[in-house]
């Protein structure tokens, strides 16, 4: 396994109370695998990613759990040790390409430093590698782009630069936090394709965070659905899309327009995600759940009603369950 996250809890100790942004997350990811991490806004996707990077700032902290990269424990590792992991063995791509590159530094500066932070290499050799990386993510005239400032590049170009930076040091894992949300649809699908083929080619594992199920369906091998700081369903992408088990996943699928359900009415999940500072007793989805019963006042545990598909629910939709 490239990465094994088990029972991860990341909380923010704010003046108003404890925000349990991540509250018991488990997942694994194999080399070359692409995991789609899906959920509504505030479900804890980004915080899961930042926890893996060791980039949780005060007042937040990883309270308990384990994050193992190729067997090596990262929770509790020293800041120095984490620095050698970041950008080198685990890289991250952010949502807004307009904001992720430093506006006053040239592209070459920002790429070369990413290499030189982790290995002793001459500037010339580093530049050559940067040029190759830009070519790899489909940037025309990379030589020229290297000398550009971020504002001289389009949003799509900038996100490609960020992706190139992520791949520079051939990491084991890349965490992409909604990397295409800010881009228009054609660029979005181009970038998804490039990222996908790069991962398959290099064997890099990829966590693709998004709230858009359609995007995940296009890129991921597996999917993990997050709700209120927990993973409520996980499984192979086709299986989950075909036969979602958790009422929340079913609700999410109902709100995605797909080609084979054209003409049908889109349903919205009623209600709002709960406040993670003040979770209801029992199942966190309970207040919005159409299948809720008195049993649901207790906390549901993970079960595996079908092979390679796990769910956290007392009354999962059955096999061949109607969508």
């Amino acid at each position: 396994m490239t990465l094994t996250v088990s029972n991860l809890h990341t909380h923010f100790f704010t003046r108003a109370g404890v925000v349990k942004a991540v509250d018991g997350v488990d997942f694994q990811i194999a080399p070359g695998e692409i995991l789609g991490l899906v959920g509504e806004s505030g479900s804890g996707k980004s915080i899961t990613g930042f926890s893996i990077m060791g980039l949780i700032d005060d007042p937040g902290r990883i309270v308990s759990g384990s994050i193992r990269l190729k067997g090596e424990e990262l929770v509790g590792a020293s800041e120095d040790a984490m620095r050698t992991v970041r950008g080198n063995r685990i890289a991250m791509i952010f949502q807004d390409p307009m904001m992720t590159l430093n506006p006053v530094l040239r592209v070459d500066t920002q790429m070369v430093e990413a290499i030189r932070a982790h290995e002793k290499i001459s500037k010339r050799d580093a530049l050559a590698r940067c040029r190759d990386a830009l070519g790899m993510v489909g940037i025309p005239a990379p030589e020229e782009r290297l000398r550009a400032y971020p504002h001289q590049l389009s949003g799509g170009m900038r996100q490609r630069v960020a992706i190139a930076i992520a791949f520079l040091n051939e990491p084991d894992l890349i965490i992409a936090d909604e990397p295409t949300t800010a881009l228009d649809v054609t660029i979005q699908s181009q970038i998804i394709h490039e990222a996908q083929s790069l991962c398959k080619r290099t064997g890099t594992a990829l966590v693709w965070i998004t709230h858009d199920l359609a995007v995940v369906a296009g890129i991921a091998d597996r999917i993990a659905v997050m709700y209120a700081g927990r993973i409520v369903e996980t499984g192979d992408i086709d299986a989950v899309i075909d036969t979602a088990l958790h009422p929340y996943t079913v609700g999410l699928l109902g709100s995605v327009p797909t080609s084979n359900r054209r003409g049908e009415r889109l349903t919205q999940i009623p209600g709002m995600p709960p406040n993670v500072m003040n979770l209801p007793k029992g199942c966190a989805f309970g207040e919005r759940c159409p299948r809720r019963s008195s049993e649901c006042d207790a906390e549901p545990l993970i079960t595996e009603p079908r092979p390679a598909q796990a769910v956290r629910c007392f009354h999962p939709h059955g096999q061949g369950g109607k969508l």
Partner: protein, 325 residues
């Protein structure tokens, strides 16, 4: 860029001309210099002669016209008191003021930026809060009072530093300054600190605000995600962004540093233009006052221009915008 500079130069010329009018007419409304120029025993004929000699009998617009004609050839009139060209007198006193202003600017930078950066990076520490409280004092205490306190503490009680004068000067690379001698330096510290206090506070606040804002930005988080060292993140990624507003504001403030040195120079008997100005005002020596104000106006205009150019060099986004325009 050339078009930009040219346009700014024309604007500058108009500003200087307008200011010359305001300054000239403004100064001529105040007081009657004749009282100062003639001895109390002088008779009517003597007074009339003085008035004619100095051109004070002519209508004011005619005086202004002569002033402009002279100014165009670098002659801003003769001092009523010293009989020497006003411009020469002011230029003679300028190096001392410039030295004081540069020393204050230097202090503002080497004290203000590190303190502001520290307070911005660790806002919750008690030491940061102390820095910010100190900067409020820097803003609100009047310069003359702080100057007197500095003299009282460091010159009178502790006896560490001299309170008045410029001390020994030495010439280095054609520049005469007290900066180059030990004695001169010890004379420079107190007045420069007094003049710098407001600017140190300003730089602390600007740097802190800049750091607080920049640190929230995605590009800093991305830089951390790349595994860069803290040093590189702070001194390259953060500082490059903070320096844009700090340099701009400091540049613009340099003019006011020179203008405000009037108070400091008076307190510390620093022989600069400011002291000359105060004496000229007391003696109604109009040409000196006018020449001083004109030089300050020109200084401000030049500084503004330089800052604009510097700003466009620092910020790549502005640099390219100019080329496009």
């Amino acid at each position: 860029m050339t078009v930009f500079v040219l346009r700014r130069l024309i604007q500058a010329a108009i500003v200087v001309l307008l200011m010359s009018m305001i300054v000239f007419f403004g100064v001529n409304v105040v007081g009657d210099p004749v009282d100062m120029l003639v001895s109390p025993e002088a008779d009517q004929a003597e007074i009339a002669r003085v008035i004619r000699d100095f051109g004070l009998d002519r209508p004011i617009y005619e005086q202004y016209w002569y002033f402009l004609k002279g100014a165009a050839s670098g002659d801003l009139g003769n001092s009523f008191i010293f009989g020497q060209p006003a411009l020469k007198l002011i230029l003679h006193h300028m190096p001392a003021t410039l030295e004081l202003a540069f020393a204050a600017l230097f202090m503002a930078i080497i004290l203000g930026i590190p303190l502001g950066l520290y307070a911005g990076l660790y806002p919750d520490r008690a030491s940061s809060k102390a820095i910010m409280a100190g900067s409020i004092f820097g803003f609100s205490l009047p310069t003359f009072w702080v100057g007197l306190m500095l003299i009282m503490i460091f010159a009178v009680w502790l006896g560490w530093l001299p309170a008045t004068g410029r001390g020994d000067t030495a010439t280095f690379l054609g520049i005469e300054a007290s900066f180059f001698t030990r004695d001169g330096l010890s004379h420079l510290i107190l007045p420069a600190l007094n003049l710098a206090l407001l600017k140190i506070s300003l730089v602390i606040r600007l740097t802190r605000a800049g750091a607080r804002e920049a640190i929230q930005q995605d590009y800093i988080k991305f830089a951390r995600a790349k595994g860069l060292s803290t040093g590189r993140i702070v001194f390259v990624h953060l500082m490059k962004n903070i320096m844009i507003p700090v340099v701009t504001v400091l540049g613009l403030e340099f003019g006011s540093l020179i203008a405000f040195s009037v108070v400091t120079e008076t307190i510390f008997a620093w022989p600069g233009m400011g002291k000359l100005l105060i004496e000229a005002i007391l003696q109604l020596d109009r040409p000196i006052v006018v020449a001083y104000l004109m030089i300050i106006v020109i200084l401000f205009v030049v500084i503004n221009l330089v800052v604009d150019i510097l700003y466009s060099l620092l910020d790549p986004r502005v640099r390219l915008g100019e080329q496009g325009a």
